[in-house]
């Protein structure tokens, strides 16, 4: 189970680049996660406790509640897209750099 002994894992997580990656990722993921969960629960909470608002017609028979439910889909897609842009650029680049440096010394069986 344990990885090859020739990678010093403590050195990896102490690496300033890893520290940067860790810090940026943690803040970004926590913020995005909290936003997504809060935004999602606005839907059932709104539907239960803000019925007047949800019943307000905005476009023909379409009411605010329907628009809001559709917005949930769009926001979920946007969050996913935003995350993948950020992760695919900055995070992947840092992770690749670190991985390449530390894997270099390893002997592959």
């Amino acid at each position: 189970m344990a990885g090859p002994p020739n990678i010093d894992w403590n050195a990896v997580i102490a690496d300033p680049r890893f520290q940067t990656l860790h810090r940026k990722k943690q803040g970004f993921l926590t913020g995005l996660m909290v936003f997504s969960v809060v935004f999602y629960f606005l839907l059932p909470i709104g539907a239960a406790y803000f019925q007047e608002l949800f019943k307000m017609r905005v476009w023909g028979v379409i009411n605010f509640g329907l628009v809001f439910a559709l917005t949930e889909f769009v926001v979920a897609w946007l969050v996913a897209f935003y995350y993948s842009q950020r992760a695919g650029g900055e995070f992947d680049r840092l992770a690749r750099e670190i991985a390449a440096d530390y894997e270099k010394g390893t002997v592959t069986p």
């Binding site: 990678i7 990896v12 997580i13 997504s36 059932p44 539907a47 023909g60 028979v61 992770a95």
Partner: protein, 637 residues
């Protein structure tokens, strides 16, 4: 050598399946008898296609890695479709369209949580799991915690979650096939089970993946065709389409019957508009939030979904697969908005409920209507196609579940615990996996038949609740919390599972004889007045009114019959399964209590126990899950 035997066996398996499908005793189904051959033809084409894929895939399954994870050689795009195929169960395909057709807005609102769940999967689960995992959920937990303990608690939890989910799928599948084409329930269950076994046993994850991809493509294609047919007459205008739904007398009548007395003062336009407003289905907001929590956090802990991330080679591909899955799953739920409202407008909520009280027949009946109705060739062809897709849906989901449960038995319990981490030769590992598959498959068929007539709809919600309360906190904290250790995971798994199952056992989901008798008494009490009203309307000169009254008469007959059956079932009983007269816990969904309890248990357990290994391996786990160092070697063996 081995695979040649497999292919031969597969051929015989296909031959053996034919009489199962063709000699069944028929009851009344949605498909009219003269078109039943058409349904079987469409079924046969889809089964033949998936069997061919399995036949090809069987050649590629040589090692445990091939069997469990398709050798890690699935691309992000393929995996995205496979995740959609694994996830869009009959409950979401037929269930959500049905809910919308019966209750309007609330049904659509329900679908949102199923998509948002993937945000959790994408942000915190998919990539780390790909970076440090191998075949099963327990592999992730065992990386830094005590392997033996992790494999035991992990396997128990995986088997629990899969069994709940599997039971719901098998029973739902049996009922569905029976309702659609009138094959006996038992034969339907056996057909689903045997077909699924053929895929998994011979083709392992390779075949399962392709069956899920094919099913997802068929499902999306069928939905797009139906939505175009529904929406085209309105020039693809959303307000015009919904205006017509609101104006429909069938929809207005449904809202009136849902609201009861308060509806008497409402105009027809108000009643129709009410269909687009919340509150016709969900009456208890806290319960609904509790369900939402189970969906949003539980999906990330579903073993059959988690397992899909081990089939891709890198974290980047895992990320890509979630993006595709979200596009497909979300797009599909937006389409169900049109399927549900379209079925309400064109077929009518009462006509749908008269075939299946839960509304599950909304999409198939809509297909039949759009093709030209019950007596036309195209109508029956479309119904047959949608029915076949629904059947493929169940088989694909069941295959994923069985594979997840079998891997827990063979990889975690047999190889990991019984052989205690000793090296087990690859052939023996694959054989163990196949034997476990047969055991789980036989179990699924047995449970499916034994649970005939039981209300199993809440078992899917329970599976999500257990996954959210036990698996999710354990995986999340193993990956992200330095202090997390063996004690925390063992306690978290036990507390999370026991809390979710225990609360459900004392909740309103279980049958309470007293409550059943009271509810039935209410139906009987209201029957006379309703009959009188229907008789008056049957005498009307307006054929529309007469037609509506006839449909209502059928629905009333069904409701009364059901009430009688319900009373007969609880004859002589006073207490529920666990000996209660009334529910102790008033919510139907335990998530809001059991999820925090699960997290708390992992926290407390980790702080109270000490485990050197968990601490020592933390830097390695954390470095690997973030950077993917040696990730490619994690799949090699």
């Amino acid at each position: 050598m081995n695979f040649l035997q497999n292919r031969k066996a597969l051929g015989w398996g296909m031959v053996a399946l034919l009489p199962v499908v063709s000699t069944g005793a028929y009851a009344q189904g949605a498909v009219t008898p003269e078109y039943r051959w058409l349904t079987f033809l469409v079924f046969a084409v889809i089964i033949a296609l998936t069997m061919y894929v399995t036949y090809v895939a069987a050649k590629r399954v040589k090692s445990a890695s091939d069997f469990y994870t398709a050798g890690g050689g699935v691309t992000g795009l393929q995996n995205g479709w496979a995740i959609a195929g694994d996830y869009l169960s009959a409950a979401s395909f037929l269930g959500i369209a049905g809910l919308i057709s019966q209750y309007g807005y609330d049904g659509f609102m329900y679908s949102v949580g199923w998509l948002v769940a993937y945000i959790t999967v994408l942000l915190v689960i998919a990539e780390p799991c790909r970076n440090i995992g191998r075949y099963t959920l327990s592999d992730i937990l065992a990386y830094r915690n005590n392997p033996r303990a992790m494999r035991i608690v992990g396997a128990i939890s995986v088997i629990t979650v899969s069994t709940f989910y599997l039971t719901a799928q098998m029973v739902g599948g049996g009922v569905l096939v029976k309702t659609l084409i009138g094959i006996d329930y038992e034969i339907s269950v056996i057909a689903v089970g045997v077909l699924m076994l053929a895929y998994v046993l011979f083709g392992g994850m390779v075949a399962t993946t392709w069956v899920q991809i094919i099913k997802a493509i068929l499902l999306v294609a069928a939905s797009i065709i139906l939505v175009i047919l529904v929406w085209l007459p309105y020039g693809f205008s959303l307000p015009a389409f919904l205006q017509d739904v609101v104006n429909d007398p069938k929809v207005q009548a449904k809202v009136a019957s849902l609201l009861g007395d308060p509806a008497k003062n409402m105009s027809a336009a108000e009643l129709g508009q009410r269909f687009l407003e919340p509150g016709l289905y969900f009456k208890a907001p806290i319960d609904q939030i509790s369900l939402g929590m189970a969906l949003v956090f539980g999906t990330a802990g579903l073993p059959h979904i988690l397992m899909r991330f081990f089939t891709v080679p890198t974290a980047q591909q895992a990320r890509k697969s979630v993006l595709w899955a979200m596009a497909i799953i979300g797009g599909f739920y937006v389409l169900t908005l049109f399927l549900g409202f379209g079925a309400a407008k064109l077929v009518g909520p009462a006509a749908i409920a008269s075939i299946d009280a839960g509304g599950n027949m909304a999409a198939p009946l809509l297909a039949q209507y759009l093709g030209g109705g019950a007596n036309s060739f195209m109508g029956n062809f479309m119904l047959a196609f949608v029915s076949a897709v629904a059947f493929a849906t169940i088989v694909a989901v069941v295959a994923g579940l069985v594979l997840a449960a079998a891997s827990a038995i063979a990889h975690d319990l047999y190889v990991g615990v019984y052989h205690g981490g000793d090296t087990v030769p690859p052939q023996q590992q694959v054989r163990a996996a196949r034997i476990a598959t047969v055991i789980v498959g036989a179990m699924a068929i047995t449970i499916g038949i034994a649970a005939k007539g039981q209300n199993v709809a809440h078992l899917v919600a329970l599976a999500f609740a257990v996954a959210a309360s036990a698996n999710f906190p354990c995986v999340l904290l193993t990956l992200y919390w330095k202090r997390c250790n063996t004690g925390g995971i063992v306690l978290g798994m036990i507390v999370g599972t026991v809390a979710a199952v225990g609360l459900t056992l004392v909740s309103p989901n279980v049958t309470y004889p007293k409550a059943v008798r009271e509810a039935s008494a209410k139906v009987f009490a209201g029957e006379a007045a309703k009959r009188e009203d229907i008789v008056t309307r049957l005498a009307s000169a307006d054929p529309e009114v007469v037609k509506g009254a006839q449909v209502e008469q059928g629905a009333l007959d069904k409701a009364v019959q059901k009430a009688k059956d319900d009373v007969a079932k609880v004859e002589g009983k006073e207490r529920s399964l666990v000996g209660l007269e009334a529910p102790l816990f008033t919510l139907k969904n335990p998530g809001i209590i059991s999820i925090p309890l699960g997290f708390l248990a992992v926290l407390l357990g980790s702080l109270l126990f000490r485990d050197r290994r968990s601490e020592e391996l933390w830097p390695e786990v954390y470095a690997r899950q973030n950077t993917g160092i040696l990730a490619s070697k994690a799949t090699a063996h």
